[in-house]
C-alpha cells in the first residue's frame, strides 16, 4: 500500500495502540487537533482521552511524565512538537530516562518514545528548524531513529514503541508528504539500508539527506560516476558495519548532514569509519551546513542546506582532486 510518511506514522501508532493497551500518547495539540503536523488525527477518537490527550505547553512536565509513567508500566509516546523544543525536555530524557536501566542496576527500564518534527527547509527560522540528533547522540542508553521513507517510519515507530530503552524518533518536516510503499517487515533500530548500489563512492545520510543523495546519484550517473547511497535510518546506535562494507567496495565516503560539522554525527561517522577501515579508503569527507544558526529567508536557507546539487558538486570536486575514478 502506498501512503505518505505522515500517514505511515499515524497508522503505526494506531496499530501499536491496538496491539498493546499500555501505549499512551500525549503532547501539545495532538488529540483534538490531531497534531500540528497532522500526524495523529483520529487517535483520540479511537482510543479515548485516557490514552490520547492534549497537554499544557510544558515540555519539562511532558518529558518528565513520560519518564515517570514509563518506569511505572506504561509505554508512552510523547510528541515534542518541534525538535528544537527538545532543549526543554532533555533533563528527563538524559538524566533520568537514558540512565534508568543502568543506574538502577537493571531493576527497570524506561520504555518511552519521543517523536519530534525536525529539520530545515520549512522557512521556520533558527529555532524551529534544527535537528537535535547530535545533542543526544552522545548519551548512552538512548536510541535515535531517523526515517527517510514511509515504510521505515512505520517500522521504526513499531520498533521504538516495543523497545525497552527510550527512543527519540526524528520526523523530518519536509518528508511528511513523501509517499512510498508501506509493508509489515520489522525494521531494527540501528540498522542502515543501502538504498542505491554504486561502485565509485558511498554517500551516507539520513532523513531528507537520503533523498538529496539519491538525487545527486542521478546527476552523478549522468557524469559516469556510480554512487552508492546508504540511509542510516538510525543515528544511535550507528550501523557502522553497513558503511564499512560499502566503502570496502567504493573506497570513498561522504557523509551528508543537515547540521554543522563540529560535533555533528557525520564527522563522528567518518572518524569511526576511518578508525575501522583506513586502509580501504581513498577519500573520506563530510558535507555539512555553514557554522551558523539556520537562516529564515528562503534565499539564505536554500543556500544553507546541503541539497542534491551540492552533494553532486562535492563528489565531483573530490573525485577530480583524488584522481580519475
Amino acid at each position: 500500500m502506498s501512503t505518505d510518511l505522515r500517514t505511515a506514522v499515524r497508522d503505526a501508532l494506531a496499530a501499536e495502540m491496538r496491539r498493546d493497551d499500555r501505549v499512551v500518547l500525549f503532547g501539545e495539540d495532538i488529540a483534538a487537533a490531531g497534531g500540528v503536523f497532522k500526524a495523529t488525527p483520529g487517535l483520540s477518537e479511537e482510543f479515548g482521552p485516557e490514552r490520547v490527550f492534549d497537554t499544557p505547553i510544558s515540555e519539562l512536565a511532558l518529558a518528565g511524565a513520560a519518564f515517570g509513567c514509563a518506569v511505572s508500566g506504561l509505554r508512552p509516546v510523547v510528541e515534542i512538537m518541534f525538535g528544537d523544543f527538545m532543549a526543554l525536555a532533555m533533563d528527563s530524557l538524559i538524566n533520568q530516562s537514558a540512565k534508568y536501566w543502568y543506574m538502577s542496576n537493571e531493576q527497570g527500564t524506561a520504555p518511552l518514545v519521543i517523536r519530534c518534527a525536525v529539520g530545515g527547509g520549512g522557512r521556520f527560522g533558527a529555532v524551529h528548524s534544527q535537528t537535535p540528533a547530535t545533542w543526544l547522540q552522545g548519551i548512552p542508553g538512548l536510541k535515535i531513529a531517523a526515517p527517510a521513507f514511509p515504510d521505515d517510519a512505520r517500522g521504526l515507530i513499531e520498533a521504538a514503541v516495543r523497545d525497552e530503552n527510550p527512543v527519540v524518533v526524528l520526523e523530518h518536516k519536509r518528508l511528511y508528504p513523501v509517499t512510498g510503499e508501506v509493508g509489515a517487515a520489522p525494521v531494527a533500530i540501528g540498522s542502515a539500508r543501502v538504498v542505491r548500489r554504486g561502485a565509485d563512492v558511498t554517500i551516507v545520510s539520513a532523513m531528507r539527506g537520503v533523498h538529496d543523495a539519491l538525487g545527486a546519484a542521478e546527476t552523478l550517473a549522468a557524469s559516469g560516476v556510480e554512487a552508492e547511497v546508504i540511509d542510516l535510518r538510525s543515528l544511535r546506535p550507528l550501523d557502522l558495519a553497513t558503511v564499512v562494507e560499502s566503502v570496502s567496495r567504493t573506497t570513498r565516503l561522504v557523509a551528508v548532514e543537515e547540521g554543522p560539522q563540529l560535533g555533528g554525527w557525520a564527522s563522528g561517522l567518518v572518524g569511526a569509519v576511518a578508525e575501522a577501515a583506513l586502509g580501504e579508503l581513498d577519500d573520506v569527507w563530510t558535507l555539512t551546513t555553514p557554522d551558523t544558526p539556520i537562516p529564515y529567508s528562503p534565499v539564505l536557507e536554500d543556500a544553507y542546506l546541503p541539497d542534491a546539487g551540492a552533494i553532486a558538486s562535492s563528489v565531483l570536486a573530490r573525485l577530480s582532486v583524488g584522481g580519475p575514478v
Partner: protein, 325 residues
C-alpha cells in the same frame, strides 16, 4: 525490626503505631549518623546529603502508603528509601559503592532506585522527583495506586514544580506532592529566593488541596498524609503537603552551615522530630524504658547492618554491562 515494606505500619494515632513510627525515624537517624562517620573515613564517596532532622516527613508520609504505591525522592533521599523498606545494609553498601548495594554500586547516594519497595528513584537534580511522580501517577491511575513526590523548598522555584502541578491538576492524577521545606535551598535562605514566601499558596493556585504543617511531628505528618493520599486515591486529583522542617546538618558534606543565624539550629534541635515523638509517646503512657529500648535496639540493628556492608565486595569492573536486548 520489621520492615515497613512500603505498607502502613499501623494507625499513627494508636500507641503501638506511634512507637513503630518512632522506631522508623530512629533507624533513619542512626543510618545517617553511620553515613557521616563512614564519609569521614572515606568509605562513602563524592558527596552525601543527610536527612538528619527531617525524619518525620518521610516516615509520616511513607507509612501511610500501601503496596503498589510509588515514591520519588530527592538526592537527600536516604530517609525516604529507608521509610519505604530499603534494607539499611543494601543502602549503605550502595553509598560505599559495593556490589551488594541496592543498585549494585552504580547509582550512589543521590540516585538510589529500589523498585521492590516502591521507590522509583531518588533524583539528583532539583525537581526531577516531581515529574517522575507525576508520570507514575499516569500509570497508577489504572491500578488505584498513588504516587508521592518528595522535594524541597528550592524545587518550588523550578519549572518542574509549576509545570507538573498544573499538569497533574488538569489530568486529576493520583499524586501527592510533599514539599519538605527545610528553609534553605542549598546555602541560600528560602526567603531570599522565593517570591511571596508561601509555597503552600502556590500549590493551592493549581486547584488542589494544600496544607502546611509541622514537619517535625510525625503524627501530624501522618494524619495529613492520610487525608492527602485518600484524596488522591479516590480519584479527586493531586494533593499538596508543605512540611516545615529543618536539616540539622549542612546541605552536603562540604557545607558546615555557617550561613545560619545564631541560635536557629538550637531552636530546631529542641524540636528534633525524635524528641517530639518520644515526648508524645510518653504522654500517651508508653514507659520511658520501652521508648529507650526501642531506640537502642533500632540503632544497634542499623549499626550491625552497616557494619556488615563495610565488608561487602566492590563490583568487578571486568563484568560487561548488559544492554537491554
Amino acid at each position: 525490626m520489621a520492615k515497613t515494606e512500603g505498607a502502613r505500619i499501623s494507625d499513627g494515632g494508636s500507641g503501638a503505631g506511634a512507637l513503630d513510627l518512632y522506631r522508623a525515624m530512629v533507624r533513619i537517624r542512626a543510618f545517617e549518623d553511620e553515613m557521616q562517620r563512614l564519609f569521614l573515613r572515606g568509605e562513602v564517596h563524592g558527596t552525601v546529603h543527610l536527612y538528619t532532622g527531617q525524619e518525620a516527613c518521610a516516615v509520616g508520609v511513607c507509612s501511610a502508603l500501601i503496596p503498589g504505591d510509588q515514591v520519588a525522592a530527592t538526592y537527600r533521599g536516604h530517609g525516604a528509601a529507608l521509610a519505604m523498606g530499603t534494607e539499611p545494609r543494601a543502602l549503605a553498601a550502595e553509598l560505599m559503592g559495593r556490589s551488594t548495594g541496592v543498585c549494585g554500586g552504580r547509582a550512589g547516594s543521590m540516585n538510589v532506585v529500589d523498585r521492590e519497595h516502591g521507590l522509583i528513584g531518588c533524583f539528583g537534580i532539583v525537581g526531577g522527583s516531581i515529574a517522575a511522580a507525576t508520570g507514575a501517577a499516569l500509570a497508577l491511575r489504572r491500578s488505584g495506586g498513588v504516587a508521592v513526590a518528595f522535594f524541597g523548598d528550592g524545587a518550588a522555584n523550578h519549572g518542574y514544580f509549576h509545570e507538573c502541578l498544573n499538569f497533574a491538576s488538569v489530568q486529576r492524577l493520583p499524586v501527592v506532592f510533599v514539599c519538605e521545606n527545610n528553609l534553605y535551598g542549598e546555602f541560600t535562605p528560602m526567603a531570599a529566593v522565593t517570591a511571596g514566601g508561601d509555597i503552600r499558596a502556590r500549590a493551592a493556585g493549581y486547584a488542589m488541596p494544600a496544607e502546611k504543617v509541622d514537619g517535625n511531628d510525625v503524627a501530624t505528618v501522618r494524619a495529613v498524609a492520610d487525608r492527602a493520599i485518600d484524596h488522591a486515591r479516590r480519584g479527586d486529583g493531586p494533593a499538596f503537603l508543605e512540611c516545615l522542617t529543618y536539616r540539622h546538618v549542612g546541605h552536603s558534606k562540604t557545607d558546615p552551615g555557617s550561613y545560619r543565624p545564631p541560635g536557629e539550629l538550637q531552636q530546631w534541635l529542641e524540636r528534633d522530630p525524635l524528641i517530639v515523638a518520644a515526648a508524645a509517646l510518653a504522654e500517651a503512657g508508653v514507659d520511658a524504658s520501652e521508648i529507650d529500648d526501642c531506640a537502642t535496639a533500632a540503632r544497634a540493628d542499623v549499626a550491625a547492618e552497616v557494619a556488615a556492608a563495610v565488608s561487602d565486595p566492590y563490583p568487578d569492573p571486568s563484568v560487561p554491562v548488559a544492554e537491554y536486548a
